[in-house]
Subunit: 346 residues, 2 copies
Amino acid sequence: MAQPKKAASIWDVARLAGVSHQTVSRVVNGSPRVAAATRDKVLEAIAELGYRPNRLARSLAGGAAESVTVLTADTSLYGPEAALRGIEKAARALDWSVQISVLDPADTHSDADIIARLPRAGEPTIIMAHDEPGMRAKQVLLDQQPHAMVAIGPYTAEELAASPWLVGMDDGKAAAEATRYLLDLGHETVHHLAIPTSTGTFGGGKAHRAEGWARVLREAGRAVPEPVPSGWTIAEAFKAVQPLVADPEVTAILCGNDHLALATMRAAHLAGRSIPGDLSVVGFDNTPFSGFTTPALTTVNQDFESVGRGAFELLRHRVDGSIPRPVPGWPEPELIVRETSGPPSS
Amino acid sequence: MAQPKKAASIWDVARLAGVSHQTVSRVVNGSPRVAAATRDKVLEAIAELGYRPNRLARSLAGGAAESVTVLTADTSLYGPEAALRGIEKAARALDWSVQISVLDPADTHSDADIIARLPRAGEPTIIMAHDEPGMRAKQVLLDQQPHAMVAIGPYTAEELAASPWLVGMDDGKAAAEATRYLLDLGHETVHHLAIPTSTGTFGGGKAHRAEGWARVLREAGRAVPEPVPSGWTIAEAFKAVQPLVADPEVTAILCGNDHLALATMRAAHLAGRSIPGDLSVVGFDNTPFSGFTTPALTTVNQDFESVGRGAFELLRHRVDGSIPRPVPGWPEPELIVRETSGPPSS
DNA sequence: GACAGATAGGTGAACGTTCACACCGGGCGG
DNA sequence: CCGCCCGGTGTGAACGTTCACCTATCTGTC
């Protein structure tokens, strides 16, 4: 087995270049206070030894952090996955490193447990606060190191403005728009197949999908049917939605995300109900596959990647006060009408 | 803004417990050579101060690594994502931390660039080597620190046995099985919509999907049509597959993954060809949605999560010689016949 | 021609751990 | 009763950086 020859340190470079370790450090960090000739000598030594700064030592010594830890409960969901991608890209561009830590939804993490995930106290952290474990982690971090954390979740513009450590989109508003669209199409009411909520009970935050849906129905004076709770998986959704698709009175279903919508389409098909003839189905998120189902899914587009990027920028601002607070600038959620929605048949 | 009160260190605990810092270290690391009474005192001090070991310092000091870095090019693909989940779970169980670094497929990373991703020299690393950037990273790491890296990719049993740093499944074999199944159904030949290959040219490794497909056709003495290259996205696949679905001679298409298969189904539908009546479509990976499309997709199940777990175990073995080499024990790829495949019509 | 001020560079400590080794006391074999 | 070994503990250095502070040397000014 090849012997792992020890990596060159700042001292090795210093010796070879005939300068002090501190000068090497200055060169590496691009300090202006070093003579051109010296800089060249050092750079040459760096190249020769193949020196690479050690991130661990750098952050131990109290240098700039240049690392983020992302706490999330489920990387297989499209939203968190896309947000993570956004964070990664933004971080990469600045040469920050990204660490992820997956919270087990089954496990009940103690506060200490959550803190132990972080590589060090004060580690800049982004939390995907869309479900219970995420909310829990958010609370813990908020207590421990509010200055070095940012949470992503569904929040109204007011909530976002009030809490300087929040980033997200108003899912409730988007759901409202989708519901209104279905009512305008002539549906008597709209049913809802709901994703699990962050609080464990339906009707948590104002910006939740179920909340926006219910609000529009109430405002329009329509019946507000009991939302049908589903788990995150397609299989769970398929099971949960059975009674809904079997009921001929149900003519429109707003689904908590595109996976649930796919399950609904499948269940409807098996129940012999045609889409959009007998039943309109609307999804959420505009997951990549949604434009290619048959029929193609009407859904709400969400730019999670931009939200992730925004979260990263906000975190930088919070960790390092000298960076101006970024203005959230991602596109609003937008309804994309495709083939699964239409006027009721009768 | 709340003042980040400095975290307790091993020295603070030592002072409070009235012992040396080394004794605290021993207690924290569960060394047997410490008296019960002392241990209790230390534990108490730890609890009182809310002390948490600093991972960075630990690894800097040359302690056990307890961290893995995963290099991947695309977290949105099902395979890498599932493997990452497997790695995360396995790592979490042992209290290791996981760091991910996304290689930009567009960017041509220099060797130094790739090395710079690692938090320190010798960092244990797992590489998703299913595409070009991954292969490149694999080569670099193999040169730099073969003892602390493992690569995941499609390899035959022989290749896996020959290279002790490889983990993966024989995609070629699985593709062969799927192709044979379609031939047995009575199709004259089988076409192939191919994922990008790791080498940039089709027909790279023996274990590649396209390779297994072609082998079976040759062995059966059938025509081997030119494989149709597609990108990773559904949209690209949709475009690439147009000529194939438009051709009435084409009765069976093996797709490089389930997303490509979905695009194929959509294109076929729009071209007025019924599935499986006019055209059989088989996917790859058994992505969660595949059982819920209409018609439900016939595909090849792959247990990527187990492969990820296996990669982690192998990495531990390689980094720490005292850990026995794990025996790869994940299920073989398995064809799951659903509704998109059947005998040719005429 | 002495002096402030900038410019280039060096020195030592600190960050929070682990590692290698030295030390101390007591039980046990000779 | 001496010496040896071993369990239990302390000491100091090392890991690879950055930070705070100090010291030369050069420039230009009055």
